[in-house]
């Protein structure tokens, strides 16, 4: 049933090879599709597919809605949440074009005078504009290049480990850093990297790698590597879970067939594992691109630059979000801060649409 529904919806190509060969049990269909995609996004896609197919089969929407009421309540709560916390606050965007003063309170959103693009112009003509935009994009792109493939590689590596105990230990240890806040991570980094008595510097000096301790925390040339490496350490294990889930749903018969055909382990990874989780990779990639300026997968640009940035490395650590805080929010310049925030959102929107379009064209997989 699901196979047909998928075909009718024209989305069959989005599913991995196991998706067509699943049972007709409705509930199981959704779960299976969820596993095929490996995460909640897969679940959403599966839901759309299943519901779309069924809609055409019986066409009694209200009756179905009543039957699914308890499940639909969860969906409605999600929609309500988005509406209240994401859509209603969008009204505030108008203050980017107004001379809003704190003292005027919420009513000031509507009563303040219009100033057009004054704050956008102010930002574009800011002395640090180029540096801030460069830093924001460079840190984001570096993190995308280095942090995005790492969970995939790590998931595949873990999947190849035969010792189940070792596999579980490695997996658990690797995702635990995700639960440590960036504030704590910055403290750990200080303890490890500082020039006075940092562990790393002590080892480097003792082993003769360097003559004098290195200023990892202040020297601007170490800042970008530091944020990328710390982000990989913190988030790699967590995001690997999604890809591991996708790998788990691959039909084992394909591997067995490949072994019979004499495929090596690398060939099995290259020709079975990677193509099978391609759709998951693409969807996660699109979502990461959408949040590119926020820091991609982990969304950690602000935390890292705020906590690890300092006056000495400011030239490479000041990004849009920290600039909004120091020059906008901390000064009570909410209009200016909103204008910069709006710019960033527009850039993110363009990125997500472009990446979705490109992904659809290249691989046939897209979010919408």
């Amino acid at each position: 049933m699901v196979g047909k529904a998928v075909e009718k919806a024209g989305l069959g190509r989005q599913l991995n090879p196991g998706a067509d060969a699943i049972s007709n049990t409705t509930c199981f269909d959704a779960i299976h599709l969820y596993l095929c995609y490996g995460d909640w996004r897969g679940g959403i896609v599966a839901n759309i597919i299943v519901n779309k197919g069924r809609h055409k089969i019986n066409g009694k929407m209200l009756v179905r809605f009543r039957l699914q009421l308890y499940r639909q309540v969860f969906v409605l709560m999600g929609i309500l949440f988005l509406f209240i916390f994401s859509y209603i606050p969008m009204v505030g965007i108008i203050i980017a074009f107004k001379n809003y003063k704190l003292a005027s309170g919420l009513l000031g959103f509507f009563t303040s005078e219009w100033v057009g693009f004054r704050y956008f112009t102010e930002f574009f003509t800011d002395l640090n504009f180029t540096t801030i935009v460069r830093n924001t994009f460079m840190i984001s792109i570096l993190k995308l290049i280095f942090t995005f493939p790492m969970p995939i590689i790590f998931a595949i590596t873990i999947n190849e480990v035969r010792n189940q105990k070792a596999k579980r230990i490695v997996q658990t240890v690797s995702y635990l850093p995700h639960f440590i806040s960036w504030v704590v991570v910055s403290g750990i980094l200080f303890s490890f990297l500082n020039q006075q008595n940092g562990l790393v510097n002590q080892i480097l000096v003792l082993t003769g790698v360097v003559d004098a301790p290195v200023s990892f925390l202040a020297d601007p040339k170490y800042f970008w590597p530091m944020v990328v490496i710390s982000d990989i350490w913190k988030e790699m294990g967590w995001w690997a879970i999604i890809f591991l889930a996708a790998i788990t749903s691959i039909d084992l018969q394909m591997y067995e067939a490949a072994v019979v055909d004499g495929a090596s382990r690398t060939q099995r990874i290259w020709y079975i594992t990677l193509p099978s989780i391609k759709s998951t990779i693409m969807i996660v990639m699109i979502l990461s691109l959408g949040n590119l300026l926020g820091g991609g997968l982990g969304g950690s640009n602000f935390d890292q630059c705020y906590l690890l940035g300092n006056p000495v490395n400011n030239d490479v650590s000041e990004i849009l979000q920290t600039y909004v805080l120091t020059n906008g929010l901390a000064q009570g310049r909410y209009s200016f801060a909103t204008a910069i925030g709006l710019l960033q959102s527009v850039m993110s929107l363009i990125l997500i649409y472009t990446s979705n379009y490109v992904a659809n064209k290249l691989s046939g997989v897209g979010l919408f």
Partner: protein, 550 residues
């Protein structure tokens, strides 16, 4: 702008005229006493303005004494470093409640933007205690005007306050929204017991190490650099000098400069510190310290707590911070059995064979406590402020309970009971806790008498003759949300970001080039416009101050 100025001057003139009129009836000599000590902790007698009975802070029927029924006010304290956040746990807050009936429900700031959110959301508590962007609160829609509240609920209050303080606290719209804490008029400043703000820059070094080096001379900046060289050679594992990441350095003071983001007046014109002729010499000197290996750039990247961690580890020879670092570090050394002793360099060091030392001291006061429009009982709130402003309230909040936390000696200095220095501030509650109307002199006496900070008191006494105070500078701060304010914020940011680059330049030439670029960028940001604005405000203020014979 002109209209505001006219209103401002008119109201000031009216206040002073009314006050002078009242004083005139009692005779000139009383008037003199009144203006000099009206808000001092000693509380001199004051004319009641035409009534037969003399009005003083000790008068029995002062408004705050008339109602001492229990009442609670919520308060937001906009200082993340504040020592207390709970009312009623310490001796002083309990005593305040006992005397006034007032309790406070305290919220301490977690981050610098918290107050902006409260302000924008209209969720300010009854009172706010704040030192940044105070002009935002000079708004009748946000805060009650104290002059109006006083007139309605405690008319004698205004007569008890030093007129100079009234002038100092009159906002651009001609009204009073608060009395800033720690205000010193000239008489209070010149009181021999009074001392400069403990927040002045201090340079602290390991006295024990200097003794081991044979007590080389330390009279000039060159001598200091010479000692640095000796320490570097004899103690290679030691950090020769660690600057506090945010505090201004005393080198500026020794070299005769103000901090680059401060304001100073010269021949009737107001400048930002960045414009001081020859300031580049300071950056060249600091850069030399870096290039010769006496300090690491990483120190400027530390958080304040990381700075203290290193200083207290005993691995730093010298450091700069405020004036109390030596006392605080020596205490930690003693507790942790670290073999060492810090001492501040007392007073000036010669530069190029001359004493150029000068320290800019605020003549305006420090923080402001506002009564917001959300306060349901502004009458009790302003009367509570009257109590805090009174010598009784001032002594209680700054010194503690007489007979328990202090007694006064013949000179009027505090004598603390034995072991007082070991009691945490959170237990006794005196000092930086509930001093929302503290006087400058009260704080000066506290500092001069503090048994826990003998070196600080000595250093501040040495600094005092070199302090520069200019009342006119109190009036030059740009108004919140104005274009000039934006310029000031951006230039301050420019200085903050460029300074480390100049300090850490690989050559002196590079440091000079960076300095010149900083000046050019400051010009592009509108430095001239800002200085012209400040000069206009300064001259208007000076004219007004002259007219009322300030």
């Amino acid at each position: 702008m002109k209209r505001r100025l006219v209103i401002f001057i008119t109201v000031i003139m009216l206040i002073v005229a009314v006050f002078s009129g009242c004083a005139g009836k009692q005779g000139d000599s009383v008037s003199g006493d009144k203006t000099a000590t009206g808000s001092s902790p000693t509380g001199s007698p004051i004319s009641s303005g035409g009534e037969d009975e003399e009005l003083t802070w000790e008068t029995a029927d002062l408004s705050w004494k008339k109602d001492t029924s229990p009442v609670t006010f919520s308060i937001f304290i906009d200082f993340t470093w504040y020592l207390v956040d709970t009312w009623g746990k310490d001796d002083v807050s309990k005593e305040i409640t006992k005397r006034t009936g007032v309790s406070l429900d305290v919220t301490k700031a977690n981050d610098p933007t918290q107050i902006q959110v409260l302000l924008a959301g209209g969720e300010l508590p009854d009172l706010v205690f704040v030192a940044r962007n105070v002009e935002r609160f000079h708004d009748p829609d946000i805060c009650y005007r104290w002059d109006e509240l006083i007139e309605q609920y405690c008319p004698e209050f205004i007569k008890l306050v030093d007129p100079k303080e009234i002038v100092n606290n009159t906002a651009a719209d001609g009204h009073i929204y608060t009395f800033k804490t720690h205000f010193n008029d000239d008489k209070a400043w010149n009181d021999p017991r009074n001392l400069p703000s403990p927040g002045a820059s201090g340079f602290h070094y390991r006295k024990d190490i200097v003794e081991k080096l044979g007590n080389p001379p330390l009279k000039s900046l060159d001598d200091l650099v010479n000692i640095f060289a000796m320490v570097k050679e004899k103690y290679p594992d030691m950090t020769v000098y660690i600057p506090h990441p945010t505090w201004p350095t005393p080198y500026l003071d020794w070299m005769g400069f103000f901090t680059p983001d401060s304001k100073y007046a010269d021949n009737g014109k107001v400048y930002l510190g960045i414009s001081q002729p020859g300031l580049v010499e300071y950056y060249k000197f600091f850069n030399k310290l870096y290039r010769e290996g006496y300090m690491s750039m990483e120190a400027l990247a530390y958080q304040p707590e990381q700075f203290f961690q290193i200083v207290r580890s005993g691995k730093a020879f010298s450091a700069n911070y405020n004036t109390g670092l030596s006392d605080e570090t020596n205490k930690v050394f003693k507790e942790q059995n670290v073999d060492g002793m810090f001492e501040p360099i007392m007073g000036p060091l010669e530069v190029d064979g001359k004493i150029k030392y000068k320290v800019l001291q605020s003549a305006a006061g420090w923080a402001s406590c506002f009564i917001t429009k959300n306060c349901k009982n502004p009458g009790r709130a302003i009367r509570f402020m009257e109590f805090l402003k009174s010598p009784e309230g001032d002594r209680l909040t700054q010194w503690g309970i007489e007979g328990v936390h202090y007694t006064l000696d013949e000179e009027g200095l505090l004598v603390r009971p034995e072991g007082f220095a070991d009691i945490p501030t959170q237990e006794h509650g005196a000092g930086a806790c509930w001093y929302f109307q503290a006087s400058g002199l009260g704080e000066g006496i506290t500092i001069a008498s503090d048994p826990a900070y003998p070196l600080r008191a000595k250093l501040l006494k040495a600094i005092k003759p070199y302090c520069v105070r200019d009342i006119g500078l109190n009036f030059v701060q740009p108004v919140a949300d104005s274009e000039e304010m934006n310029i000031l914020v951006k230039i301050t940011e420019l200085i903050t970001n460029t300074q480390p680059k100049m300090y850490g330049a690989s050559t002196e030439e590079e440091a000079v080039t960076l300095f010149e670029k900083m000046l050019q960028d400051a010009d592009k940001l509108g430095l001239k416009r800002l200085e012209e604005y400040m000069t206009t405000k300064y001259n208007d203020a000076m004219k007004m101050l002259q007219e009322i014979k300030y």
